[in-house]
């Protein structure tokens, strides 16, 4: 029963997660080294590719946009004590809402279309997350399992809808009809020359707003207060008269709506159509982003940027160093989840000892 001294706040909030991320990257570096490549050279190429020139930076921000939304979808549910592994499916189904409204009103100016696509996508994504929420709240079905299953169901459902219903006659690839150029959310490059023809678009601004919104929601709203209460202590939540079943359902729906913004970014702008499997793992990156960012919007923003840079830099890397494929990024992503999520406390006890010793030495 030795009394453990808690770590100083800055260690808990900043140092420990940073050490975990560094550990993940070190091991990633060792793997690169193990296949006979130079990890430092790789890092250099990636940084150059991700930030070195306007087009590359634009791509980085495009990926970052996806990862911010996916990361927020995981983070939000996490604050209410739930592990949402479903952003991938929620974003996919959200794409259906985006394309339906876009095709129905095709030709409408983007300034009107943008909000409509946001709302439609949000509704569809929210619905896809709401069902697991209801099953958890009313039937006690574990949200981890149901969100995983809903990812798969989304894949089959959307593949049916895209290939059988939305695919126009005479088109070879599995995709919907295109959205008119005037209705598509414009690229940032149209306003800021630096980004050139890179895919980063106004949805990036939406992502920044979403970060602010989630920050406000979680820490500055009554709803967020209730959400965090539930995440920390369900018994005290009942004591406070907060309905946990309602909280679970609404939080999941909000998370699904956030995930669906990935669809706005891709379907509504970058691709301008609904393509089979357009989410392409961005939803899963959200899991890593959320854990690495400690579910805080600032952390989510930073880790989404990091992963955005990794994805963009990884593409460059694959050109410059044929020995390293962009799958190395998925490996890094896995290591980040492992060290910041599952093994997040591995370094805690050594650190506690270190700081306890420091405290007694300085105290005497």
């Amino acid at each position: 029963m030795s009394v453990r001294t808690p770590l100083p706040r800055w260690v808990d909030v900043a140092l420990l997660p940073a050490l975990n991320v560094i550990l993940a990257f070190l091991i990633g570096g060792l793997i690169v080294l193990a296949v006979g490549q130079n990890p430092l050279q790789a890092v250099g190429i990636m940084i150059g590719g991700a930030f070195g020139y306007g087009l590359g930076f634009g791509y980085t921000l495009y990926y970052t946009t996806d990862f911010i939304f996916a990361g927020l979808a995981v983070s939000l549910a996490y604050h209410a004590g739930m592990f949402n592994i479903g952003p991938e499916g929620q974003a996919y189904v959200g794409g259906l809402g985006v394309i339906l409204v876009a095709l129905a009103l095709n030709g409408l100016h983007w300034s009107l279309m943008f909000p409509l696509m946001i709302v439609a996508g949000a509704l569809f994504g929210a619905f896809w997350a709401f069902i697991p929420g209801v099953l958890q709240a009313k039937r006690g079905s574990h949200i981890v399992i149901t969100t995983i299953l809903f990812n798969f169901i989304a894949v089959s459902l959307m593949s049916y809808i895209i290939t059988r219903i939305l695919k126009p006659e005479g088109v070879q690839s599995d995709e919907s009809a295109p959205i008119d150029a005037i209705s598509r959310i414009p690229r940032l490059g149209e306003f800021i020359g630096l980004f050139g023809r890179s895919p980063v678009n106004l949805t990036f601004i939406l992502a920044i707003l979403a970060l602010g919104f989630v920050y406000w929601l979680v820490w500055h709203s009554k709803f967020g207060y209730a959400m965090r209460a539930l995440g920390h202590n369900p018994t005290a939540t009942r004591y406070a008269g907060i309905s946990s079943s309602r909280m679970i359902m609404i939080t999941m729906a909000l998370a699904g709506a956030l995930a669906a913004m990935v669809a706005v970014n891709n379907v509504g702008s970058v691709q301008g159509r609904l393509i089979l499997n357009f989410v392409n793992g961005a939803g899963f990156v959200g899991v890593a982003v959320a854990f690495m960012g400690k579910a805080h919007p600032i952390g989510v923003a930073l880790s989404a940027l990091l992963f955005g840079a990794l994805y963009q830099g990884g593409q460059e890397l694959a050109f410059s160093m044929p020995g390293i494929t962009k799958e190395m990024i998925v490996t890094i992503q896995a290591l980040v989840i492992l060290f910041t999520g599952a093994m997040g406390d591995m370094l805690r006890i050594p650190l506690e000892r270190l700081f306890a010793r420091g405290a007694t030495e300085s105290g005497t």
Partner: protein, 555 residues
Amino acid sequence: MTTVNTPSQGLETASASTPAIELRGINKHFGPVHANRDIDLVIRRGTVHGIVGENGAGKSTLMSILYGFYTADSGDIFVNGTKQNITDSRHALALGIGMVHQHFMLVENFTVLENIVLGAEDSAFLRPTLAKARAQLKQLATDYGLEVSPDAIIEDLSVGQQQRVEILKALYRGADILILDEPTGVLTPAEADHLFRILRTLRDEGKTVILITHKLREIMAITDEVSVMRQGAMVKTLETSKTSPTELAEAMVGRRVLLRVEKGPASPGKVMLEVKNLVVADDFGIPRVKDVSFSVRAGEIVGIAGVSGNGQSELLESITGMRDQTAGTVFLNGQPLSLDGDDGAARARAAGLAHVPEDRIRMGLITAFEEWENTILGYQDSYGSGPGLSIAKAKATAKEYIAKFDIRPSNPELKTANFSGGNQQKIVLAREMERDPDVLVIGQPTRGVDIGAIEFIHNEIIKMRDEGKAILLVSVELDEIRSLSDRIIVIFDGQIVGEADPATADEGALGLLMAGVTEQGHSPGPGTLPDHVTPIERNLTEMSPKDNSARDVSP
């Protein structure tokens, strides 16, 4: 193992007079808590030895040390006259010490037989082990009257039967000394009687039984000797036949200096809180509050006295909307309260009912929150007009409460987990008291709170009463109930067994009531003896008025 083990037969080395267990100078600390201090104890072979004491007196810790769950900081343990260093439960089992835990260590979807052999299998394959166990079980059943169907699934069995499986587990492993930790807490009176018959048989067959309990009725009914513990120390060991419940109750509670609470006479107004025919079940669906009715008036404090685990927790939780009611109604200011659903507590609060919960860490606070965030728990919707939370207003309130209740450290942005127990309790009290409620329900107001804070908290409660609030108080500290309450209701086994005036009631009489011993003619209504009166209860009932008659005259 299963055949009769008389003391002389069973042990070759030790003579019959060697104690089964002897403890010398046992000390155990948990952090700053001194759970056991210099405990000496001798348990004679072939007896049923009771260990009584209030909650937190250190009984369970002591027995856990004996069973190898904890290691003592200092002191010696002698088993059958030999000094032993018991390192784990396996070791204890090898020494013939078996334990029946308060919360059963059974695998619920296993059969009785599977549970009994678990961890004591003879071979890699189950078939021979199970066959052998089946035969032994039959033998044990005939030897000790421990009948349980070997193929029954645990979760289908009654609690009493499950307990028998626990005892069988210990006996199957060759236990000669059996420790039972609060064995009747979960049993019906009929099941408890059955258990006592079994324990008597075990003793008669030469086993040594150690019974940990806080129920005097059980001590008087079944033990040969009884040791009383109080606040981690051993008070005394007595022969049961030469003592009385009153003497034990006094030894348990001790003649503590009553904390002086300055309070004038109450001037009760109209009924504010009324509970009618309330029935409440626990998490396992077992009824814990059984048809309880009472009322609390404005300007009075009604204390509910009782040994913990007799339905107080469920009663408080259901009145405050934290637990579903099976039947009955709660009226607040004459209006029935709708407490259904998982947000019932919000409606109770809106109707003017404030609640200081029994377990502040588990219920009343979110320890990961900053102090100011806990200041608004349950009232968060009144901070800010729209969907936004007015943090400025919340922090201002927090600062106000910190000043008024002298909460230290006076930093509303500090994590709540870093406050001491007393200051955490003040955070809860301030929040619940300062909202001008009509009714205040308080559970264990001073549990784990230091002396200085106790006085402060008591005075605040009295102040609330004098402001005309209706206050319902539950505490396991009888002192606290007596010094604060204007009326005392005694609860036992989910029923109200009596009511007393704190000015005239004495501790012994209350203790007996709390122990389920009802005085004839004193408490009518639900307090009359239940249908399942046992001979033991009848005996005690007969002797209790005699014991009390002498005390009633004393001031």
